[in-house]
Symmetry: D2
Subunit: 379 residues, 4 copies
C-alpha cells in the first residue's frame, strides 16, 4: 500500500461512504510486533509466494526491504499459559519463568520504546496470534482484584490478556482478532477506560462465518426453517496446526457456531469442524450444507463452497480495524468500539449478529465520526 | 392452511414483526383463476406428489375436494400474442379471434362474476403464467392512447397486460409474479390509479436471484471485487418448457441478471443460463460461481448450489403478496406498492436491490400499516 | 420385487452379462432375521416413507402385509460385547447372561427352524447390523482354539462373529455387509470350510467409498499426484446414531480410508469424518475434496457431492450378494467368495481396490459360473 | 523437463508399467510449429505466470531462452476455411489466396526443412489449434478423389486436414488433439497408410470428459439409471474465445456429449454448455450434475466440480502422445494408433468409451511394444 503496488481492494476505505473519512495515510503507519517463533517475516511471506501463490514474486521482491525493517521491530512475545502445541512453536530466545506482571511490564516497555523510537501518535495493538483454549476459571470482575493475581505464576490469564493489559498500560488501543480471551473481561474493560484507551473483538469474521451472518438472516426473513447447518473447514497454515489441538479448536468452533441460533431465534442442529490439511497451505475451503424446510414442510438444501486465502482475507480487516481505532481515538472515544461489530464473529456486547444490520451501525458511526472530525478540524 | 394441515413456514406472517398485522384469515380467502390449458388442478398437484415428492399423499387426499371446488372457478384465459411454445400448451376451448378489447372485457366479466358469486370484499389478481418474450414496441405513455390500440388485432400488448387491464377494470389489485410486461407501463400505472386500484411486480424472487440480492451486498460492503458471476439453472416443470424457447428465456435472464451490477456499482462479467431438464420436475438446482478479487488482487471463489422446489418456494410468496395487497387496500393505498420490493427480482421503480435494505422498507411499511389500521379500527 | 411393483434398477441382474445367470427367482425367496430392537419392520419402513420420502406410500400400503409376515420371522438377536450405544437400542426381551456358546446355539437353532419351516434350499445370513468397535485382542488362528473361548463370558468375540459361527453351524452362507469383525478371522475361515459353507465381506461399498474406488484409479493412471483427500459424510439414520459413538466410528473410518493409499501406491494426507445430522434421515450427503498436482506441480481440485439414500443404495447390494452366494453354492464353491470384491470397502484377501478391476473379476466369475451351472443342468 | 526443473507428474512415463518403455529422452526432442497469430511463446507463457499463476516465475525465467529458440522455429500456418472468429486472431503476415494444395505444399516444406535442419529422426505433428466448426460436406472416401479437390478455393477441407496432409506428405506422424476434422476421413487414412505414416485423434480428454468416461461406467455397472447428466464448463483462455463462436462450439459439445450414451447403452437427457468467462484465464471449472435413479426408483444426485488448469492438463498428454507415436513408429506401426484411445474424447474407430477398459488396451499395447522393441534391440 505504501508503495502503491496494490489497489485498495478488500479495504473499507475503498467503499463509498467510508472513502471520505480522514483515514491515517499509509505513509504515516509504522509496523512492529511481538512474536514467539524465530521465523522472519520474509520467510513467512516467501511461503505465501511459493506454496500458496497468493503474492506475486515481483511484489515480494519489491517489499523484502521494508519487511526486513519490520523484522527489526519485532520483539520476543510471551507463551504464558500456552499449551504444548503453542509452546512447540516457540523459539529458544523467549524469557523464561516470568510472572504475568513481569511479562506485562516487559511487553509494555517494548511498546513505549516503539512509540518513542518512531514518534508514533497513536499505537494500536492487534492480537493476530493463534487461538487459545477457553478459560474455565472465574475471574474477578474488578481490575484491582485481577491485578493482584498477576504476581502469581498460577494466574489463569492467557497470553492474549497479558498483551491487552500491556497495551492499555502503554496507552495503546487493543484489537482482539482471535477468539482468545484478550480484553473481554469486565476487569480489563475497566482498566481500558481508566487508561482512556479503547478496545474491541473478538475473532475476525473473514470467510465462512461472514457467510453465515449474511445467509442466516435470509432464512429468518423468508421464514424458511433451518433444520441443520453443517460447516466443514479445511486449511493448512500455522493457524491450522494450532487449531488441530482440540483444546484450542474448542474456542474457535464456539465462536463460529453461536451466531446461527442468535440470528434465527431458535437452535437448529449445527456442526462445525476444522481440519488441518497441509497441502492447502493458506487456502481455506469451507463447505457448508444448510438443510431447511419451506412451505408445506418440504425439505430443501443450500450448499456453499468458499475457497479463500486466509491471510489475504484477514489482512485488510486488520488494516481497517487499526485505522478505524485511530479515527475513534481522534474522536475521543474511550472503551469498547461497538461500531466494529461487522468485523467480528463474537462482537463484544452486541446482540445483533446479522451482517447487514451490523454494517448499518458502522455506517452510522462513520457518518458521525466524519462530522465530529470535521468540526474538530474547523476549530 | 385453511384446514390447518401445514404450518406457516415460508410465510412472512410467521415472522415476528409481521405476525401481529391484521392479515386476512385463511377461511376468508376464495380462489379462482384463468387458465389456457385443459389441465385440472388435481392433476397438476398429483404430479407434485408423484414426480417431485413435494406434497405428502395424505395431504393431497385431504385437499382434493377443495381443489376440485377451485377447478370449478377456473375460466378460459387468453393467449393473445402468445408465441408458438405457449400456444402449443393451450387447449382447444379458448375463444378464437378476439380483439384485445374483447378479451379484456371477457376476463373482467369473469372477475366481476367471481366477486359477486362469493361476495368477495377485495379481489387480487396474481399473474403466475409462464414468462412472455420482451416487447420491443414503443407503447404510448398515456392510457387514452394505449386504449385506442386495444381494438386492433395487431396491438402489441402481451396477455399479461390484458389481464392487468381486466383486473383494474374490475376493481381488482394486480400482482405480476413474472418478468412479463403486465402493468409495468406508465399507461397502466395511470389506469390503475384512475381506478383507485394498486399493483406491483415484477418477477418473484424465489431462489437463485434471492441469493444474489443477499450475497452481492456482502461483496460490496467488504470491497471484494467481483470479477465474474456465473449462474446455471436447471429444472423440469412447465415453466421450464416455456423458458426453453429463447424468446421467452430472454426476459427471464435479463430479470435475473441486472441486479448484480446494480448492487455492486460496476459491471462484472455475468452469465445466466436456464435449461429444461425433464427429470428434475419441480426441483430447481442453481449452481452459481462467483469469482472475486481480494487484497493484493488475489482471486478467490465462492460457489453455491441451491436445490429448491420451485412451486414450494413461490407459493408462500404469492400468498404473502395477496394478503399484503389486501392490507394495502384496507390502508387506502393506491398505485404502486413499492414496499413489496423484497419479493421481486425487478421491483418497479425501486433502485435498491439489496435484499436487506428492501426488507427494511417492508418492515417500515408494516409498522405504519399496523398503526394506520389500528387507528381505523379505533374509529 | 415379488409383486412386480418396482423394476430391477440397482440390481446387477439388470446388467447385461449378468442378466442371463440362473438367479434365484424373487418368489423363491423367504426373509427372516435377528433383531435387538423391538421395532417392527412396518414402523421402520414407515419412517422411510414419512421422513425420508424414499418409498411411495402406495407401494408401502401394498407391501405392509408381507412386511408383517417377515416381522413374524424375526427372532431376538444378541448384544454380546455390545457397547453402551448399542445396548441402549436393545429391547428388554433379549436373553440375559448367555455365554457366547449358548447365544450361538440359540441363534443356530433359530436358523435351523427357519430352514425347516419354509423348506429353504439354501440360507444366506447377511450382517446388516450397525458397526462394532475394532477388536484389539489377539485371537487364535485355529478354530479348535477359538471354540474353547466360547464358554467364557470374557470371550472377546463381537456379536457379528457369533452370528457368523451360528450361520456356519446351521449350514448357512454368511455375508458381512459391515466393517465389524464377522467371519474375517482365520479360525472362522477354517470353520466355514469345514462346514462346506461360504462367506465374504467386509463393509458394503455403497456411496462415497464406491466413488473413491472409481476416482482414485483415474488419478493413478493419469499420474496426477493426490496431495490430500478429505471426505465429510453427514446423515441421520440409526446407523448414524451408532457411528456417533467414537469407538464404533473408528472401524468405519478405517474401512472408508485405506483404499486411497492402496490404489495410489503412496499415502497422501486423508481425512474422513462422519457426523450424525438428524434432519437428513436416511439421506447421506458426502462432500469430498481432492487436492492434486498436475504437470509443473500445479495444484488443482476435484470436489464431489454425493446425495444418496443410504438404505436404497444398500438394499440392492444385499439382494445381489444373497443371490450371488446362492449361485456360488449351486456351483459347489466353498470358503471365501472373492469374486464379490467390488461390493466391499475391504474385500477379504483381495489387494485390488480399483472398482473396475474388481468388477472384471466378478464378470469373469459370472461367465465361469454360467458355464458350470449350464453343464450341471445338462447332466 | 529438459533442464530437470519439474518432475514427471502428469506423464504416463511416470506410471509403473510404462516407466520401463524406451521413451525418447527429453534432450532428444526439438520443438517447432505453425501459428496464425503473431504472439510469441514467451508472451503466451508470461500470461500463464501473471494471470493464471500456473507457472512459477523462476521456472519461467529459466526457460525464456529455450522458449525464444522455439519461437524461431515457428512458421506461418493457414486459416483456410477458418471462420471470422478465427480469422480475427490471425496476424497480417499470413499468405493470402493460396489454394489448399499450395498451402499444403508450403506447410510440408516447412516440416521437411525442420527435419533437415535438426536431423530429426521422427517428426510428430500435433494439432493443438482451436476447435473448427463441423463439416457438413460429403467428402470422397478415396484419396485420389479428395486430392483433386485441393486445387479449388472452394474445397471444403478445414485447416486441420491440410496440416494432416502436409504431415503425411512430409513423412510425419499426425495427432489430432482437437475435435476438428484433421485426419478422420477415410481418404486421409488411406494417404497415411500409403505414406507409411500413423495418426490418431480426436480431442484430448483432459478434464470433464475424462470424469465422464470414469464415472459413467460406475453407474452402468451398478445398474443405477442415469436420468440426466448436465455439464457446465467455464474458462477464459483463447480456446474459450474461439469456442464462444457457436459454429466452433458445436463440434466441441458433440465431442464432449456422446460418450455417456455410448457407455450406458441408453440415452439419458444430456446437456453440455461451455462459456467464456474472461476472469478465469486458463482455469477451467466444470460443474456436472448427474441425476440418477436407484432401487425402488428413488432419485439421487451426484455433483462434481472440477477446477483444473487447461494447459497444464493438456500439456503432459501432448508429450505422452508424441512420445507414444515415436514408440509406435519404432515398432513399425502404420495407420491408426488405436491404443491411444484413453487420451481422446472421440477415439477413432474405437467403440469402447470406458476409461478403464481403454487404459487396459494401452497397457496391453505397451507390454507388446516393450517386447517388440527389446527383440529389435537384441538383433
Amino acid at each position: 500500500m505504501q508503495r502503491g503496488l496494490t489497489p485498495e481492494v478488500g479495504l473499507i476505505s475503498g467503499v463509498k461512504p467510508f472513502a471520505q473519512l480522514p483515514w491515517a495515510r499509509w505513509d504515516e503507519i509504522v509496523v512492529g510486533g511481538h512474536e514467539i517463533r524465530s521465523l522472519r517475516l520474509t520467510q513467512a511471506v516467501a511461503e505465501l509466494v511459493d506454496q500458496s501463490h497468493t503474492l506475486d514474486r515481483r511484489v515480494f521482491d519489491a517489499i523484502s526491504g521494508p519487511l526486513e525493517e519490520i523484522d527489526r521491530e519485532i520483539c520476543p512475545g510471551t507463551v504464558f499459559n500456552g499449551n504444548p502445541t503453542v509452546r512447540k512453536l516457540a523459539s529458544l530466545g523467549l524469557p523464561n519463568g516470568e510472572t504475568p506482571a513481569q511479562a506485562i511490564e516487559r511487553l509494555a516497555d517494548d511498546l513505549r520504546q516503539f512509540i518513542q523510537r518512531h514518534g508514533v501518535r497513536h499505537l494500536v495493538v492487534v492480537n493476530v496470534a493463534s487461538t487459545e483454549p477457553p478459560i474455565s476459571a472465574d475471574l474477578p470482575p474488578r481490575w484491582t482484584d485481577l491485578r493482584s493475581l498477576l504476581d502469581s505464576p498460577g494466574c489463569p490469564l492467557p497470553a492474549s490478556s497479558l498483551y491487552a493489559i500491556a497495551a492499555f498500560t502503554a496507552g495503546a488501543s487493543y484489537i482482539n482478532f482471535t477468539p482468545s480471551l484478550g480484553a473481554s473481561l469486565p476487569a480489563l474493560d475497566e482498566l481500558c477506560s481508566e487508561q482512556g484507551s479503547r478496545h474491541y473483538g473478538c475473532d475476525g469474521k473473514t470467510g465462512e462465518t461472514l457467510m453465515k451472518s449474511v445467509l442466516a438472516p435470509m432464512f429468518a426473513r423468508r421464514n424458511l426453517e433451518v433444520l441443520s447447518w453443517v460447516g466443514h473447514n479445511i486449511f493448512g497454515n500455522t493457524d491450522g496446526i494450532v487449531l488441530a489441538d482440540p483444546s484450542n479448536k474448542q474456542s474457535k468452533i464456539a465462536s463460529k457456531d453461536h451466531l446461527i441460533g442468535d440470528i434465527l431465534g431458535y437452535k437448529p442442529q449445527t456442526h462445525v469442524s476444522i481440519e488441518y490439511i497441509a497441502s492447502l497451505g493458506d487456502w481455506k475451503t469451507a463447505w457448508d450444507h444448510i438443510h431447511f424446510r419451506g412451505f408445506l414442510g418440504v425439505p430443501m438444501t443450500l450448499q456453499f463452497i468458499w475457497q479463500g486465502c486466509d491471510s489475504v482475507l484477514a489482512a485488510p480487516l486488520v488494516l481497517d480495524l487499526a485505522r478505524l481505532a485511530d479515527l475513534a481515538q481522534r474522536c475521543g472515544q474511550i472503551g469498547r468500539m461497538s461500531f466494529m461489530a461487522p468485523y467480528f464473529k463474537s462482537p463484544l456486547g452486541v446482540q445483533e449478529q446479522a451482517f447487514d444490520r451490523q454494517f448499518q451501525m458502522l455506517e452510522q458511526w462513520a457518518s458521525e465520526a466524519k462530522a465530529s472530525l470535521a468540526r474538530a478540524d474547523a476549530r
